[in-house]
């Protein structure tokens, strides 16, 4: 068996040698001579104590009891030692040991719209990509192990880890997620491809309370990477949701009906939804008539915050008093007590709120269009703007299975799609929309461009060549039959493209320029 990356466990034996000295409160910026651990910027507790020959003394947010009291369904808090795992993750803060308190203010578009940025702040998964975007590091799992041919991936969880309601978290919660939610057709009509390997399901086996094994039907080395970068969390609370799941509790339907749902699966959907999307409305929004009679306002979580209020105007969250991380001084994380998310649908109003410094952090849906105004107001507004490369690019797709068969034939002809590509003046788009800071390119799925992709492929049909566009359209038989300057389809019908733009992901200015480019080769739009 090949061990690729496996943290934590090897250090347990060393921990017994720890002396009574208190561990130094190291930060990434000031390591105080402390050695790096197996992974960047974080340690397993035993590893940290062994490296420093020291002991971490834990302390909790003084507001924990008050915050916990706002999580309906939670009982009184036990002492911190009983809330943390016996093997907490020790986090080295970037610059400073933090102080508790405050509310992080965030801005999203609407329920389930433009919210992933904010959700990522509290997100957890089995593993994580470090900030170098290359190194996978422990998170909920303290370690992992692949077999030689990448058909068996085993995760080692933390002893004593608890959900936000204090109930135990373990391997069976991973298996419950996979068997009873992700691949249960009563919950999700079809399993998502990320829970499959070449279209086949995996066999998820509980080895013991803290060891879970994914047995793959064929190799998929990227499965580990998936658990590091995807929103889908590979666990759900079996004790809580299982009371409504017919495969877990024979009284599931009765349990659900007792609190007002039609069936057990109806209650599962009420709390979990029908996907791993963590933004599914909680019962507070989806079932306001039932919520008072439910065991909790939202499903217990391992995330750093839990939602305590939700309506169409926004959401409010408090720190999870059972969160599994501490800083190097032993303070339980997170530092910030509360989060407040406001929904604002209009992009201009969002921009105004950013300029007015009403927000603590935002990147999603911030187009470069906003940059000049934001940069101009940085000092006055006490905020900082950083311009960073995007990974995805604005892309256009024609409906190759249009319900209109004449359009289907046109859009389905690759000559049309190539014509539309070379009709675009990407250099102009770059200058006008992206202030010359961008890089014209073709869509190749991978971004950044991997070494196996040639420059020619990356730029295929990305040159500005209206002559080629006109020639391709002529060749298709798309001519201007009525003399209005716009081409008709080969069957003689008019073609007017119906273009809708969601500005969450693309600049409307860019789409306007492309529409103008297309009109210049005779393709009309409305």
């Amino acid at each position: 068996m090949k061990v690729l990356l496996y943290s934590g466990v090897a250090f347990v034996a060393l921990a017994s040698a720890a002396s009574a000295a208190v561990c130094p409160a190291v930060t990434v910026g000031d390591m105080m001579g402390f050695e790096a651990g197996a992974f960047p910027q974080q340690y397993e507790l035993a590893e940290f104590e062994a490296l420093g020959n020291c002991t971490v003394e834990f302390s909790a947010n003084p507001a924990s009891d008050d915050l916990n009291a706002r999580i309906r369904g939670n009982g009184p808090l036990p002492p911190l030692a009983d809330r943390l795992p016996s093997e907490p993750l020790v986090v080295a803060p970037y610059d400073s040991i933090g102080s508790y308190g405050g509310t992080l203010d965030a801005l999203s578009n609407a329920t389930e719209s433009g919210t992933s940025d904010f959700m990522s702040i509290r997100h957890v998964n089995l593993v994580r990509y470090s900030d170098d975007l290359q190194t996978i590091v422990p998170m909920i799992a303290k370690g992992w192990e692949w077999n030689d041919d990448f058909t068996q991936l085993t995760f080692f969880l933390r002893e004593g880890h608890k959900w936000s309601d204090g109930s135990p978290f373990g391997a069976r919660d991973v298996k419950f997620w996979y068997d009873n939610l992700a691949t249960d057709s009563n919950v999700r009509e079809l399993p998502k491809d990320y829970v499959l390997v070449a279209g086949e399901v995996m066999d998820v086996v509980v080895i013991d309370d803290t060891t879970i094994q994914f047995n793959l039907p064929s190799p998929k080395p990227g499965l580990l990477s998936h658990f590091a970068n995807h929103y889908a969390q590979a666990f759900q609370p079996m004790d809580f949701l299982g009371q409504f799941h017919p495969d877990i509790d024979p009284n599931a339907d009765a349990n659900a009906q007792a609190v007002g749902f039609e069936s057990g699966y109806d209650a599962i959907k009420g709390y979990y939804g029908n996907s791993d999307w963590m933004d599914t409305p909680t019962p507070m929004l989806a079932h306001p008539d039932l919520v008072a009679g439910l065991p909790a306002d939202t499903v217990p979580t391992l995330e750093s915050y839990i939602i305590t209020r939700e309506n169409t105007e926004g959401r409010h969250l408090v720190a999870n008093p059972y969160y599994f991380q501490v800083d190097t001084s032993g303070q339980q994380l997170p530092y910030i007590n509360e989060q407040d998310e406001l929904f604002v649908g209009e992009s201009e109003v969002r921009l105004l709120k950013l300029i007015n410094s009403e927000v603590d952090y935002k990147s999603q849906a911030l187009n470069l269009d906003y940059a000049p105004l934001l940069l101009e107001n940085q000092e006055k507004g006490n905020f900082t703007i950083e311009l960073k490369p995007e990974i995805s690019i604005g892309a256009f797709a024609f409906n190759v299975t249009s319900e209109n068969l004449a359009k289907r034939e046109v859009f389905g002809d690759v000559r049309f799609r190539r014509a539309m590509s070379v009709a675009m003046n990407r250099d102009e788009i770059n200058e006008v929309v992206f202030f010359g800071l961008g890089q014209p390119t073709q869509y190749i799925a991978f971004s950044p461009t991997p070494s196996f992709v040639s420059k020619e492929l990356e730029m295929a049909y990305a040159q500005f060549d209206p002559d080629m566009a006109n020639a391709l359209l002529d060749e298709m038989g798309m001519m201007d039959l009525d003399g209005d300057g716009m081409r008709e389809m080969p069957n003689g019908e008019k073609l007017v493209l119906n273009m809708q733009v969601a500005t969450q992901a693309v600049s409307i200015k860019m789409v306007e320029l492309v529409g103008q480019n297309w009109r210049e080769v005779g393709i009309d739009k409305r």
């Binding site: 997100h123 409906n399 319900e403």
Partner: protein, 154 residues
């Protein structure tokens, strides 16, 4: 041209009402190693840019409904499975990856524009905020940058 909400756009795309769809697209290798959605019809999930809704329906229903995709779509589906089974960076993986990109460019179901930069905003009272490498959804936005250790110096 009409500006719509993201929900309206996703819904119209799902119900196959649009002629041309526009959205951000592209993923890093790290994501593609685990998720195949960019390589099989309709070429992404509900939230993102798709083309060929009826091709996707054909595949989801084993041909019971929808429209049969062209051969190049099946070739790409087979190749993503091979790509995910290979060790990233190996000759085998690189060969399959190059073939996939050639397929994508040849079929040009999605047309790229400009790889750009975008702003990241943070209040100066928010401490332990490190500089991000990218402004992107990939890697799940702030997740690599450890927001649990952010604090407010107010």
């Amino acid at each position: 041209m009409k500006e719509v909400t993201t929900d309206e756009f996703r819904s119209a795309m799902s119900s196959n009402q649009l002629d041309v769809m526009i959205y951000a697209k592209g993923q890093p290798l790290a994501v593609i190693l685990g998720v195949s959605e960019l390589f099989q019809p309709p070429y992404d999930n509900y939230f993102n840019l798709r083309a060929g809704m009826l091709w996707g329906e054909y595949i989801d229903t084993d041909g019971a409904s929808g429209v049969k995709p062209p051969e190049y779509a099946y070739e790409l589906m087979a190749d993503i499975n091979l790509f995910q089974a290979a060790i990233a960076g190996s000759d085998e993986s690189n060969e399959i990856g190059a073939r996939m990109v050639q397929n994508i460019v040849d079929s040009m179901l999605f047309i790229g524009t400009v790889k750009a930069v975008a702003p990241i905003y943070h209040n100066n009272d928010l401490k332990n905020f490190t500089e991000f490498k990218t402004q992107s959804y990939a890697y799940y936005r702030t997740y690599p940058y450890r927001a649990s250790q952010w604090w407010l110096d107010e």
